[in-house]
């Protein structure tokens, strides 16, 4: 029998990790990515990657990492996969080190670790403040090596459109579009790993990259895949608001001693440096003495919202607070945080070594994603999902520096599992449905190209982003969520009247974007309606009208499925795997 043929969609950390495992095991891989894989969004991760290596004499263990992760996620994550990830983490750090990741070092030449949010241990390995970039490059280099040996074929500049599913419900390949020639082709495969990252674009501006639209996840959802816990959206406490995106200011700034504060006097006009210590309100340190500035992200984000919107203490009356590293030694800042301080300097113009940074929370990450079983397979046989695009590890809130680990671990699990699956797959009948799927996609494209409407897709997208940010981020009210859902339906209606402004068949970006937007609209309803139905507060999902966690009713995984009906998705709920750690109240103002 020929070696199984696997398609990996997405060339960030999860996708590349899967590719490496498959190539190493003798499988043949086709790797699809919208951008050259070295430019994938994983490159933006800054602060570090968690593993309980216990190199600081603190008595850290993988079980403590497991407990912090489950507690940080407000008990919504299935515990079996989280435990497996935390146990694998130290070995993965060693492997990355062997691949040449330039991790920061201790004077003795060992890996250095720093603290991150939601833990009291120094558990985060880091390469300056560009850890994601360095990890992505290390995996990219290994994939390039396999590519040069003929084990991997890259399709860079191709966008996934849909899965090819045969009459027995098994995935048999994908359709994808060449973003230069706009040609749509069917690619056969025995199994598919989707590793297409985040969904930031449905919020308009976020910390995500341009390609993080969630389009692939949404397409699969519309083909019958469950989408789980869609309502859990992480808003990062410290970002720099910009015209085109919200730029991340890493949690590592606080891990290295950065402090968040506002002037005690509302509307204080003095420059930050002239405000004496006694007139500064270090609200995270006062409210959360145990964890201080390193409370988990959902807690820090809500605290900043409170101090700005309820207490009226935003800097100069604006929605901004200070993130201050100016008291830290310059040499340390340059050695450990240079990358992020440079970003601030370049885009804002001030030197954070001298002047406190002005920051505000921004949409950052989705804890929800494609539903997968403990083998990382979706409910469509033969389609696996890895990395941010699935829902597996982070429950109701992700801890900082856990995502890089979950991406790589996911790739390492789904790669071999896809091979295992493919080996016992019955042979395909006929073309496995390829021609029919190709025809469906071509039809969709023709319809879009012929559309003679008046709606600009980029304008529709801006409206969607504003709507989602207003109603479905930090604070959620049922009234607002209902309104958002109705308006999304309006946008879907207006989308039918879209005008591409560009009808050409060569590197047509508005065409590709319009296809993504259609999928974004569908996915937005999963987020909004999931939030509407969950009448409790848990992790990042916060409703002032239902301020408590309600385990009896909602300690459950949300599973949305596509109906094609105007009413939107259908929702069902599944029990969470709680076999190791019993749920307990989640509090960060005292030791847990």
């Amino acid at each position: 029998m020929a070696a199984p043929r696997i398609i990996v969609v997405g060339g960030g950390l999860a996708g590349l990790a899967a590719v490496i495992k498959i190539a190493e095991a003798g499988g043949s891989v086709d790797l699809f990515s919208i951008v050259p894989v070295k430019r994938s969004h994983s490159v933006c991760a800054q602060g570090g990657i968690n593993a309980a290596k216990n190199l600081k004499g603190e008595g850290d263990t993988t079980y403590k990492h497991f407990d912090d992760t489950v507690y940080g996620g407000d008990f919504l994550a299935n515990q079996t996969p989280v435990k497996a990830m935390c146990e694998a983490a130290p070995g993965i750090i060693d492997l990355l080190d062997r691949m040449g990741v330039p991790f920061n070092r201790t004077p003795e030449g060992l890996l250095d670790f720093r603290r991150f949010g939601g833990t009291l241990y120094n558990r985060t390995a880091f390469a300056g403040a560009t850890t994601g970039q360095q990890l992505l490059y290390a995996l990219d280099e290994q994939v390039r090596r396999h590519e040069s040996e003929g084990k991997v074929r890259k399709y860079e500049g191709w966008e996934f459109l849909s899965a090819i599913i045969d009459s027995t419900g098994h995935a048999r390949g994908i359709t994808a579009m060449d973003l230069r020639t706009m040609e749509v082709r069917a690619f056969p495969a025995d199994a598919i790993i989707v590793a297409t990252g985040g969904i930031g674009a449905i919020f308009g501006k976020s910390t995500n990259s341009v390609v993080c639209t969630g389009s692939a996840q949404s397409a699969l959802f519309q083909q019958g895949a469950y989408y789980a816990n869609g309502e859990f959206i992480q808003v990062h406490p410290t970002t720099m608001p910009g015209e085109d995106k919200l730029r991340l200011m890493s949690e590592s700034a606080r891990g290295e001693g950065g402090r968040v504060w506002v002037p005690r006097t509302p509307g204080d006009k003095r420059p930050a440096q002239q405000i004496p210590e006694s007139e500064r309100f270090y609200f995270l340190e006062e409210w959360y003495p145990k964890y201080g500035n390193l409370v988990p992200r959902d807690i820090a984000t809500r605290a900043i919202h409170k101090v700005v919107y309820q207490d009226g203490l935003g800097i100069d009356g604006q929605p901004m607070v200070y993130l201050d590293v100016s008291h830290i030694d310059r040499a340390i800042l340059d050695r450990k945080l240079e990358g992020i301080l440079e970003i601030y300097e370049k885009f804002v113009g001030d030197d954070p070594r001298e002047v406190p940074m002005k920051i505000f929370p921004g949409m950052h990450y989705t804890m929800g994603g494609l539903w997968v079983d403990f083998n990382q397979m979706t409910n469509i046989p033969g389609i696996f999902a890895a990395g941010e695009c699935n829902y597996q590890y982070h429950g109701a809130n992700r801890l900082g520096a856990n995502s890089l680990m979950s991406c790589i671990f996911d790739g390492f699990v789904s790669g071999p599992n896809s091979l295992e699956y493919a080996k016992s797959l019955p042979p395909v009948q006929g073309d496995g449905g390829a021609a029919a799927e190709l025809a469906r996609q071509t039809e969709l494209n023709n319809k879009l190209l012929k559309s003679k409407g008046t709606e600009n897709p980029f304008k529709l997208w801006r409206e969607l982003g504003e709507l989602m940010t207003r109603h479905a981020t930090v604070i959620r009210y049922n009234k607002g969520l209902k309104e958002a859902d109705e308006k999304i339906v309006d946008l879907m209606e207006r989308f039918k009247n879209v005008n591409l402004s560009d009808k050409s068949q060569w590197a047509n970006t508005s065409f590709a974007f319009a296809r993504q937007l259609q999928n974004m609209l569908e996915l937005s309803r999963v987020v909004v309606q999931g939030a509407l139905l969950r009448d409790e507060s848990r992790g990042a999902h916060y409703k002032p009208d239902f301020p408590e966690r309600n385990d009896e009713k909602f300690l459950k995984t949300t599973k949305a499925s596509f109906t094609g009906d105007i009413a939107g998705p259908r929702f069902e709920y599944e029990d969470v795997d709680l076999q190791f750690i019993k749920p307990r109240p989640r509090r960060y103002d005292a030791a847990k």
Binding site: E24, G100, G109, G128, R144, D244, K459, D502, S504, T509
Partner: protein
Amino acid sequence: MATKKVQLEIKRQASPDAPAVWEKFEIEWRPGLNVTSALMDIAANPVTADGHATTPVTYDSNCLEEICGSCAMRINGKARMACSSLVDNLEQPIRIEPLSKFPLVRDLQVDRSVLFENLKAVKAWVPIDGTYDLGSGPRLFPQQQEVNYPLSNCISCTCCMEVCPQFNEKTGFVGAATIAQVKLFNNHPTGKVLKEERLRALAGDGGVQECGFAQNCVEVCPKQIPLTNAISDVSRDVLAQKVKDLLRS
């Protein structure tokens, strides 16, 4: 109150063999505006300054925070990243063109895959035995990490190649970015097992001797990578390798 405007002139080309034309645009000024935001504004309202309907501009971009390396283009004659080019720091009209040394795809989008091919040719990777658990990596002192880390910051934007007078079809020069990666991997305790192969790959035509020391690369690099240092170090090693190979034969 009249709103402040930003004037842009963008070189458009519908396909590699279509004629190039310049189009003028006028967009609304906002604080903190960068060139990628301006291009997004045009996409949302694809109309030229004199009121003609046109197409959204095709260009590469992804992270918008100068770490993915996608959005390199020529802005007011200078090769740079569009995301970190703030409108307030640029003279107007802002003239935007594609990089000139790479095959054009459309408008501001070019094909820079030559860099990734070059990285293959010099085996820019650490040849590990496998991804199974083999225990911790080699010990490395912070001083060594501090030399390697800046080299590892290269975002593959190709600005250094765009501005290099020697980077052209005639010389086939690999360019500074690739040479810096050779230094990085030759420095690594395991990576250096391929050192001789890498140096030989840079010994022939298009190799390190094509460098004319114009030093444009190090000036334009958005990540301030010590490129000329890397070129000097690798040149010296290539020369030593040549002598060694000569004596051996």
